[in-house]
Each structure stands twice: as structure tokens, then as C-alpha cells.
């Protein structure tokens, strides 16, 4: 549905995007992760035909963004970073204007407006001026605008910013429901969001893609060792050394809390059974034993730090050779 090939965008001397390629299949939800200034918004602006790329091609639903912008624009719903609302209009006036711009009219327009007002819970504010609404409501009006013409492709720049936790969950549910029938690209700073809604994550830093995979695969790929957390009720003095003696355990750390140990183990080796048996037979009083998986947050930090040259020991398979610091 979306194909981006070798896109480069330069602003004068500054290269904002450097040979970025990725694609989104029909019905897929893709998350764009990256620190500020990484090029997320620039990529979205190119896809929505707001600005042309310096080099490379971007295609949406088979239409080239540079050659057939009207066809592309008709098929895209776009929510920019700042919700594009007119403060002097009421919610319904605004949505009617948006619908007319996109060629909706009559019963179709009314039905579409009603659907989005209901879907985004705007019923109680539909006759109020947007200028008097809170940030969260404006964000929802912005989303309603993007969804109004039921586009095949949705491009959402930080869709959950400014919403309260309950609304965030609702919007995530909404995006999940859209998956399948719509292709969605969303950018976010909030990492659990990417794990919660997206099938695939693209991590972008300094204008280039540093990793692209499913959230689970990304954390698996970056995991260099398995970590296990172990909590004991009454550890003895030799617990440390005896834990270390278990085959597969590389290192044992005692964490701040007494009775809690962190075990670093060989990759691909599950030592939990062994450790549990040891704890029980030694009478240490096993309270808790769990594997710690790397969160996407760790992956993100490691990858983007890697770009800055702070943690050079991490290897990412799909990334091109690391470039200059950001």
C-alpha cells in the first residue's frame, strides 16, 4: 500500500532523510520510532505530498506522490503533529468543511460526520467552538478529520499526545480496529504504544533507518544474554557462589533489595528449572523467579545511543553501517 524507496530529503546543506526505504502492506500498522529531529515528520510530509523528496520515490496505493499528488491525497487521512483545527468553528462546522474539501456531500457527508463524532466521543462537544475545547478534545477532532473520508491509508503524527490514559487506550483500540482494512503509519515517542498497536516498528535516527522488525523480534535480536530475576526469603552466605555454579549462569548480581538476585545467563539457555530446584533443595525459600525480557524502550535507547556512538557493541542486522553522530 505504501512503498518508499531510497528517499532523501535535504534542506540546503542539512540532510534530514538519508536513503530511507520501507513499505507498509495493506491492513498493516507500522510504528515510526525515533528521537526528536530524526526525520519522522519529514517522512510523513513527503508521503502526504506536502513536500517533495529531493531524491527517491514514494508511492501510496500505487500512485506516485510526486506525479499524482491528487490521487494520493484522496486516499490519505493525515493527522499532523498539531491538530489542524480552526478555532472559530464548531466541531460540526469544521467536520463539514473538511468533508466538503474532500468531495463528500449530502447524506454521505452527514453519515460520515455522525460516524466519526460517535467513534471519537465528540457528541457532547459537537456544537462548541473548537477554540474553547481542551487539548485532548482538539486531538480527537483532529483524528475525526483524518478518518472522515474513510481513507485507505492513515498517517498519524503522535496521535495520542495530550490525551488522558483512558482516551489513550480508546485511541489504541481504535487504531487496532482500523488495522486490517486500513494501512496505518504512526509516529510515537511512547514506546509501549508501538508494542501495543503495531505489527512492525521502524526505528529512525539521524535521518536513516537503524532497525525495522516486529517489536518482539527487535528485542530478541538485541538481547545478548538472558536475564533472570530471583527473590529468596532466606538466602545464605554461599548462595552467590552456588548460583554461579549452575551450568549456563554467567554472572550473579545482588540487587539493592536484600534477597533479590539478578542472574545473567547464556543466550538461548533456560536455567530457571535448575535454579528453582537448587533454591528448593537448599531451603532458601523461593519467593519469585522470572525471566526479564528486554522492553522496546531498552532497544530504542540502545539503538539511538548506538547512533551517537555511546554503545558501539550492539549489532543490528538490517541497519546500514553506522553513520556519523547525529
Amino acid at each position: 500500500m505504501i512503498e518508499v524507496q531510497q528517499i532523501t530529503k535535504r534542506y540546503g546543506q542539512h540532510t534530514a532523510l538519508d536513503r530511507v526505504s520501507f513499505s507498509v502492506a495493506k491492513g498493516e500498522v507500522l510504528a515510526f520510532l525515533g528521537p526528536n529531529g530524526a526525520g519522522k515528520t519529514t517522512t510523513m510530509r513527503i508521503l502526504t505530498c506536502f513536500m517533495p523528496a529531493t531524491e527517491g520515490t514514494a508511492r501510496v496505493a500505487g500512485f506516485d506522490c510526486a506525479d499524482q499528488p491528487m490521487e494520493v491525497k484522496r486516499r490519505i487521512g493525515y493527522l499532523p503533529e498539531t491538530p489542524p483545527v480552526y478555532q472559530e468553528l464548531t466541531v460540526t462546522e469544521y467536520l463539514r468543511f473538511v468533508g466538503r474539501l474532500r468531495g463528500l456531500s449530502g447524506k454521505v457527508l452527514t453519515a460520515s460526520m455522525q460516524r466519526e463524532i460517535e467513534r471519537l466521543g465528540l457528541g457532547i462537544v459537537q456544537h462548541r467552538l473548537i477554540g474553547n475545547l481542551s487539548r485532548g478534545f482538539r486531538q480527537r477532532v483532529g483524528l475525526a478529520q483524518a478518518l472522515l473520508h474513510d481513507p485507505q491509508v492513515l498517517i498519524l503524527d503522535e496521535p495520542t499526545v495530550g490525551l488522558d490514559p483512558k482516551q489513550i487506550i480508546e485511541i489504541r483500540e481504535l487504531i487496532k480496529n482500523l488495522a486490517g482494512s486500513h494501512s496505518v503509519i504512526l509516529s510515537t515517542h511512547i514506546l509501549p504504544e508501538a508494542t501495543a498497536v503495531c505489527q512492525r516498528v521502524v526505528i529512525i535516527s539521524g535521518g536513516r533507518i537503524v532497525a525495522e522488525d516486529t517489536p518482539e523480534q527487535l528485542s530478541a535480536r538485541l538481547r545478548q544474554s538472558e536475564k533472570i530475576s530471583l527473590t529468596l526469603k532466606s538466602p545464605t552466605a554461599d548462595t552467590d557462589s552456588r548460583l554461579k555454579a549452575v551450568q549456563g549462569v554467567q554472572n550473579v548480581f545482588t540487587s539493592g533489595v536484600s534477597g533479590t538476585f539478578l542472574l545473567e545467563c547464556e543466550l538461548g539457555r533456560d536455567v530457571r528449572e535448575e535454579v528453582a530446584r537448587l533454591a528448593v533443595t537448599s531451603g532458601w525459600g523461593l519467593l519469585e523467579l522470572k525471566a526479564i525480557s528486554m522492553t522496546l524502550e531498552d532497544v530504542f535507547l540502545q539503538l539511538t545511543r548506538h547512533e551517537e556512538g555511546l554503545a558501539p557493541d550492539i549489532v543490528v542486522a538490517s541497519a546500514e553501517p553506522a553513520g556519523q553522530p547525529v
Binding site: K73, P80, L101
Partner: protein, 255 residues
């Protein structure tokens, strides 16, 4: 409803919920009304003088009232129309709705046309209200309607030109005050070209410079003269300004 109509409807709505139209409109109508009153009073005083000297007076309201009034209104429009146009694009850029507008399936020419037509309609409405003044005068006096109507045609064409310059200035910046000043500045330069032209005299360059200014073209219409040359001037300059606005809006995407 076409996209252009949708934009016009939205812009009109925005104009009339904000206080700008009311402030600009009342200043415009108040000054034009006051000037008309003064010119009529002066004409009356002159008539009394003539009566005392000659015993009778033939008053020409076209010369004494309307020509003066059309000449003054020109200056009022130069000040107030940029206030009406300044928000058109500058506000969109400031409030980040510009990106939304340009990613909608609407051509830039439709956007420029919609914005221009909306403010043009507001202007026509204000100008229409001044029509009460000649209608009232017609109740009490006799004058030639023809130059009054061509004068109004002149005001409409002049207003359209001023508004298109304002649209261009508004597209250039995201600051409304700057937009207003830029268009007032551009219009003053256009105005003063007439002076420069007459300074250069009856040479080819002098005539060309005078032609560029709206002054002589507007004067012809106020005097009741409809010349194709003047109409060509107004329509071509309007088209040029709207075309330049289109280019500026288009190039704003690249930044």
C-alpha cells in the same frame, strides 16, 4: 458543493465570527459617510455663495461630491483592505492548518481562488452599503447616474486589485501585521508610480511607468470613461497577483 465554495463558506464564517469585519466595516462606512456629508455641505455652501453673487446656482453634484468622494475612498481602501486580507494565509501558517489545507485533495489555485473570492464578497458587501448614500442624494437632487456607476465599477476593480495584493502579502509571511504592512507598502509604491510617471513626462518610459500605476485607470472610470485599456490593466494585474500568490503558496511547502 465544490471545494472553492466550501472554502468561501468557511472563510466567510471565519470573517463574521471574528471582530475584524465589524471593526473594519464600521471604520469604512463611518469615514465614507462623513466624507460624503462634508462634500455635500461644502457643495451647499458653494451654492449659497453663487446664489448671492449671481442670483442663481447650477450645482453639479457629480463634480462637487462624487468625484471627490471616489478620490478619497481610494485612500481609505488602501488602508483598510490589507487589514481584511492579512489573515487569509498568514493565520493558516501560524496555526498549522496550512499543512492540512495543502494535503487536502484541493488544488492550490482553488485555495487561492476561494480565499480571494471570500474577501472580495465581504468587500462587495461593504461597498454595497455605501450605495445608500447616492440613493439618498437622488431623493433631494439631480445628478448624472452614469459616472457614479462607472465610479463604482472603478471602486470594484480597484478593490479587487488591492485585495489580490493583500492575498499575495499574506501568503508571504506567517505574521499578520507584517502581511498588512507589506501590502500597504506595495500599494503605496503602485500609487506613487503615477507621480514618478508624470515627473518623467510624456516619454515612452514615463507613459509606461504611469500605466503601471492604478491612478490614471481609476480616474478614467471615475470620470465616466470606460476604456478597454483600463479594464485590461485591472484584469491583468489581478491575474498576475493571484498567480504570484499561487507560486508563493506552492513554494512555502518546500521550506
Amino acid at each position: 458543493m465544490t471545494p472553492v465554495q466550501a472554502i468561501i463558506a468557511k472563510e466567510l464564517r471565519s470573517y463574521f465570527v471574528s471582530p475584524v469585519v465589524y471593526a473594519v466595516g464600521s471604520v469604512f462606512l463611518l469615514t465614507v459617510g462623513l466624507l460624503a456629508y462634508l462634500y455635500v455641505v461644502f457643495a451647499g455652501a458653494q451654492a449659497i455663495q453663487l446664489m448671492q453673487v449671481q442670483g442663481s446656482a447650477q450645482l453639479n453634484l457629480n463634480d462637487l461630491v462624487f468625484r471627490n468622494l471616489f478620490a478619497s475612498t481610494r485612500f481609505i481602501l488602501l488602508i483598510i483592505l490589507p487589514i481584511l486580507t492579512m489573515r487569509l494565509f498568514a493565520e493558516e501558517r501560524k496555526l498549522r492548518t496550512f499543512e492540512f489545507l495543502l494535503t487536502s485533495p484541493v488544488g492550490i489555485n482553488e485555495i487561492v481562488a476561494g480565499k480571494f473570492l471570500s474577501v472580495f464578497l465581504v468587500f462587495l458587501g461593504l461597498l454595497g452599503l455605501t450605495g445608500l448614500m447616492p440613493l439618498m442624494l437622488a431623493l433631494f437632487s439631480d445628478f448624472d447616474w452614469y459616472p457614479v456607476l462607472t465610479g463604482y465599477l472603478g471602486l470594484i476593480l480597484l478593490g479587487a486589485l488591492f485585495l489580490s495584493v493583500g492575498v499575495l502579502a499574506s501568503a508571504l509571511t506567517e505574521n499578520q501585521i507584517v502581511a498588512a504592512f507589506v501590502s500597504i507598502g506595495l500599494l503605496l509604491v503602485l500609487w506613487l508610480l503615477a507621480g514618478l510617471g508624470s515627473l518623467l513626462g510624456d516619454t515612452a518610459i514615463g507613459q509606461a511607468v504611469s500605466y503601471l500605476s492604478f491612478m490614471e485607470h481609476y480616474d478614467h472610470l471615475v470620470r465616466g470613461l470606460i476604456d478597454t485599456k483600463d479594464l485590461v490593466y485591472f484584469f491583468s494585474s489581478l491575474a498576475l497577483m493571484l498567480f504570484l500568490s499561487h507560486r508563493v503558496v506552492d513554494s512555502a511547502r518546500w521550506k
